[in-house]
């Protein structure tokens, strides 16, 4: 049996899904968190039942890509759990009616039930159940309230005989039900609602946004630096370094195995940035240098997501983003891209037009540095002084703007207007923020550790075989001539295809000047996506789109790298 979780966007389907199946999926307080369907299993009467988290949809008449997907999936389902936002019953029932019209058993979950009381909404559940002819269970997915009852009543799901000929008839039907089951009393605005309204107005919304960005940066830096300075560096320097020195002695301070595991000793010591052994640099890059910032970034992002702030930023930025060929909602994939480009590019599915998705995905893969790359830039370029870090960020931001302006002129098609629900602010329960953070950290470690370790292994072997010398000679005119970098930097640019953080680590070995480090970092950020984002880019844009994006990438990084070399 296949159970489909369906409902309007942002009614808590993903939290619901996690509760039912125990699978952690990323849930946030904005419409469109789930862009690809997730599958899980639920034990029902001793039998494993498949549960599918379907992307949110307002109607079954497909008006957007996500709704087409939802309608298509309905054909394969055996039962629908219709997740309804109890604080917004009328609009949600429109979809419920469409589901009831289909020949498939339905059970309704009245989610966000806890919010109805202090919003002055009273719903007669028994009556609603009667009128709809299907089971209705009040639930609070975030706390788990009502979930047991819902599961125990799944077998009661029914497919009553409902048919409306037109949309107007259906709305009229919904209206009659609402009159019978719901009473709304007036109540005063809460401070969260006042803050919500204030932050979508130009004033004080824009100052609030500037403040939010500044505070976010400060918090990320504070947490990232704090974790490195007080936890990770002491751990590596005081505990792990002696172990590595012991291992180095044991392996005879040299030789092939020594070079693979420990790497090269710098002045007779292990240097976690420069030794480049699997157990030294291979562990230090993901854990010591990148993890603290990834953790800090996702903590702040997760909080803003669950609070419901991001759609408001989309409204504030909409006018600017239209000049760059996108609408404001494109800021959400872009912000996700600052963590890792892969989920960022995936999230472009929330955008309606193909043209817009191409522009946003291309801009992300070129001008939006992922957290791993940023952590290394902060760690290595930051040693030379913060002004150099500022040049790297400033350059990428200018590239994002200019490239957006150009793509807006060049790419055919149209970019639609903004049309998006602005969710109410919700203070996220700490447990939810922590669970989401944990899921993202695990994802990062699973992705990063094997590739960094494998990468270091491959790099060591390629060095031993002198392969890089060959490539370096070949690429020297570009690398030295255009970018003003030493030939040896070619190896780093090649490795950037595997992982950008590791590539920046390789630059650090070359004794570059501060300006060269800046150029190297910018070129690495822009030039060619890492293999993981390359794959999603090809999947999301198609082969032709990916080729076009890659072409733009190569040209842009050549131009920007050369310009920086001339200016600096």
């Amino acid at each position: 049996m296949k159970i489909l979780l369906m409902g309007n966007p942002n009614v808590g389907k993903s939290v619901f899904f996690s509760r039912l199946t125990g699978i952690r999926v990323i849930a946030s307080n904005y419409p469109g968190t789930t862009v690809k369907f997730t599958k899980g299993y639920l034990k029902l009467g001793g039998e494993l039942t498949e549960v599918i988290d379907v992307p949110g949809t307002y109607t079954l008449e497909p008006t957007s890509k996500a709704e087409e997907v939802a309608t298509e999936m309905l054909k394969d389902g055996d039962l629908v759990i219709d997740v309804v936002d109890a604080t917004n019953l009328e609009r949600n029932l429109f979809l419920t009616m469409q589901l009831l019209e289909r020949d498939i058993p339905v059970i309704v979950a009245l989610n966000v039930w806890d919010d109805t009381k202090h919003r002055g909404i009273y719903i007669d559940v028994k009556k609603l159940e009667q009128v709809l002819g299907v089971p209705v269970v009040p639930t609070v997915a975030v706390t788990g309230e009502g979930m047991k009852e819902l599961v125990s009543r799944i077998h009661e799901a029914a497919s009553p005989d409902v048919s409306y000929r037109t949309r107007d008839e259906r709305w009229a039907g919904v209206g009659r039900i609402i009159e019978q089951v719901q009473t709304v009393t007036h109540r005063h605005h809460t401070w969260l609602e006042r803050l919500g309204d204030a932050s979508v107005k130009p004033f004080p919304g824009i100052p609030i946004a500037v403040l939010a960005i500044l505070v976010s940066f400060m918090v990320i830096r504070f947490i990232g630096e704090g974790l490195i300075g007080y936890i990770f560096e002491p751990l590596f320097n005081n505990l792990w370094a002696p172990v590595m020195m012991r291992l180095s002695e044991f392996l005879g301070s040299g030789g092939f195995l020594h070079d693979i595991l420990v790497g090269k000793l710098i002045n007779g010591e292990v240097d976690f940035f420069q030794s480049f052994g699997i157990l030294t640099t291979g562990l230090y890059i993901p854990f010591g240098a990148v993890l603290p910032y990834v953790l800090a970034f996702y903590l702040v992002l997760g909080f803003l997501e669950d609070l419901g702030y991001l759609p408001r930023v989309a409204v504030l930025l909409d006018t600017l983003m239209h000049r760059l060929g996108m609408h404001g909602y494109a800021i959400i994939p872009t912000l996700l891209g600052l963590g890792c480009n892969v989920p960022g590019i995936l999230a472009t599915r929330i955008l309606e037009s193909k043209r817009e998705r191409f522009i946003v995905a291309t801009l992300i893969s070129i001008a939006v540095p992922c957290a791993a790359l940023q952590a290394m830039v902060i760690g290595l370029v930051g040693r030379e002084g913060w002004q150099y870090v500022a040049i790297v960020y400033g350059t990428l931001f200018v590239v994002w703007i200019i490239l957006g302006l150009i793509l807006n002129l060049m790419v055919k098609g149209f970019s639609p207007e903004l049309l998006v629900e602005i969710p109410p602010y919700r203070l996220p329960p700490l447990r939810m923020v922590a669970l989401k953070l944990w899921a993202r950290i695990l994802g990062f470690l699973r992705e990063a550790i094997p590739i960094v370790m494998l990468g270091i292994f491959v790099v060591t072997i390629l060095y031993a075989l002198n392969v890089f010398d060959y490539i370096a000679n070949f690429a020297a005119p570009v690398v030295s001539g255009f970018f003003g970098l030493p030939q040896e930097a070619t190896a780093a640019l090649v490795v950037g295809f595997l992982r950008k953080d590791m590539a920046i680590g390789m630059l650090s070995v070359l004794n570059l000047t501060a300006n060269q480090l800046v150029i190297g970092s910018v070129v690495l950020a822009m030039f060619f996506p890492c293999i993981a984002s390359f794959v999603v880019l090809a999947r999301e844009l198609g082969f032709k789109g990916m080729l076009a994006a890659t072409g733009i990438m190569i040209v842009a990084s050549l131009v920007v790298g050369s310009l920086l070399n001339l200016i600096l």
Binding site: T63, N88, R91, V200, P311, V315
Partner: protein
Amino acid sequence: MTFNRQTTVAQMRTGERGRIIEITGGYGLTRRVEAMGIRPGKKITKVSSMLMRGPATIQVDGVQVAIGFGMARRILVELESE
């Protein structure tokens, strides 16, 4: 008989209230907007509008929706009399 001024969402001022009379866009637009609960007969409050033909945020049935300027111009509203 009270005479209520008619206008569009784009021209409403922040904080003004009214009732939706008609959505004059094409079939696709009407369908999308209606599915989000923005329909003729509904009470509407304008929550915010951005400068330079930016999007408007409106509130219908306690739900806020941000819509582009072009769409905002196509939603006709009868203003609530003071």
